[in-house]
């Protein structure tokens, strides 16, 4: 293993709170070791698998749609928990993370260590900008991701 530490912010900044993944990636700049790989992705499975090939530790930041919703609530999920929540709705994008993890598992392409930090969203309509609830969760979410990155480096040394 290369020891590479990768943070993937999944989301689209033009879909309201779905921009939280990219926002966390921005917030992390300067807060994590320089060789941490910070990327933004649309979450499409083939690209995700390509991104984490060869990475030792992967931290995924994702928007979470929950019912009933508690916008701004931050959650941390293991790959198994995240894969269990493969969505029953439409779209290859909803065929996002849960199915992506299941596909990776079926192909033996799951990273050694992967953790998902997510925040429950309020508004994902077209348009830029986070809702107040999600914006106020940004510091906590960023802290959790930074902590996961620190732990990954601690394990590597």
């Amino acid at each position: 293993m290369s020891g590479r530490v990768l943070v993937i912010g999944v989301g689209n900044p033009l879909r309201g709170d779905d921009g939280i993944g990219p926002a966390v990636v921005e917030a992390l700049r300067g807060r994590v070791p320089q060789d941490t790989v910070l990327v933004v992705s649309d979450g499409e499975p083939a690209r995700m698998l390509d991104l984490w090939r060869g990475a030792d530790s992967v931290v995924v930041v994702e928007a979470l749609r929950a019912e009933p919703a508690r916008p701004g609530e931050v959650r941390t999920l293991t790959p198994v928990e995240a894969a269990c929540h493969a969505p029953g709705t439409a779209s290859t994008h909803a065929f996002g993370l849960g199915e992506c993890l299941a596909l990776a598992e079926a192909l033996d392409q799951l990273p050694h260590r992967l953790v998902v930090h997510a925040v429950e969203v309020a508004d994902v309509a077209l348009g830029a900008g986070l809702s107040e609830a999600v914006r106020s969760a940004l510091p906590e979410l960023t802290d959790r991701v930074a902590a996961s990155v620190r732990q990954a480096y601690a394990r590597n040394h």
Partner: protein
Amino acid sequence: MNHGGTRVLRLDALARVEGEAALHLRVDGGTVVETRLRIYEPPRFFEAFLTGRAHTEPPDITARICGICPVAYQMSACQAIENACGVTVDGPLAELRRLLYCGEWIESHTLHIYLLHAPDFLGHADVVGLARDQRAAVERGLRLKQAGNAIIEQLGGRPIHPVNVRVGGFYRTPTPQELRPLAERLRQAREDALETVRWVAAFDFPDTVCDHDLLALRDPGRYAIDSGTPAVMAAHGGSPALREFTLSDFEQRVQEGQVPYSTALTATLDGRRFLTGPLARYAINGRWLHPVAAEAARAAGLGDPAGGAICDNPFRSIVVRAVEVVHAVEEALRIIDGYEQPLRPAVQVPPRKAVGAGATEAPRGLLYHRYVLAEDGTLTEARIVPPTAQNQTAIEEDVRRAVQARLNRVGPAADDEELTHLCERAIRNHDPCISCAAHFLDLTVERR
């Protein structure tokens, strides 16, 4: 559900289709009386979003409409604005654009073939089941798709929503040396693409025929991707002759209308139902396929495209897509082999008060843009006609026919699960790209 002979089947959410859509089907006494594909994503907000922006902005903004085909949006947007400003981009810059578009065709088609469509033919609920059963095939698909990604990343500056495209060309063009590793990757991709054609050709296809009019760009001498003139092949016109029309007539010929149940518009072509996408492109452009792709098509049982063979079975669209991937790989290799870096990365596109239209062949069909520019280049009006809206009526008709054919069959009655699966397949045949990139991990939480 059965209610005194009337049966209503609802698919609340269609899986493995871009974006969000639902289907409502009403069956009355063994006859399908209503088919409504309800698209509840509102992508056309983008048209309002664009008003008031500079004429340089549409390639970046419209790229965000779709995470799967951003290049199509960028290319149609660039063409429309350059058309308004009286600028023609040709030579190596046009070739680079075509190369970028080939990358998107490879990526998007391969995604659809392997991750979305093939599970339908092989008895799997999704690609995860397929990966457990045919791991080598799924790995081949991912490898092929990544070759497309690599082109987009190299030319577009990043793997999603390319940032290197601008009106007039690119911000930076690659050196021939920079493209060389792509060529190596594409030679492997050629094998994977040919194997893909063989793989899908062996699937079991329902025996059905569609009779929609076909609309695709036509670019004599080459298979239309990034340019061409709209051409129509009538389904049963009695005359096989193609009729072309100019792009400035597009909105008179392709008329959009609203239906109350969907946020997407529907469209007719000269008042008739029509289809755009791979089946239309193959029918109208087949004779200009690269010889390797044409041979793959013949071997796959599609007939001889050079002799005018067309494919009118929507379930076989997966084979046509696979053939188009071979063509895109060959075309990409040809462009890289002959590439010379242009002197400038872009030509100037000075604004003027004008109207311009542009159309290119997105992987799932013809994508039309029109912009109205003020003197300083500010957009005062934008119009985007995506392939999915054009195809909606044809898709509904395919669904109706598929269900009706099943209901007419003697033997055990179809249950809702079987009909649901059939409807989903009929829709997925057209790879509709219903929305833009939003994705979520759905989760149900019980609060106590």
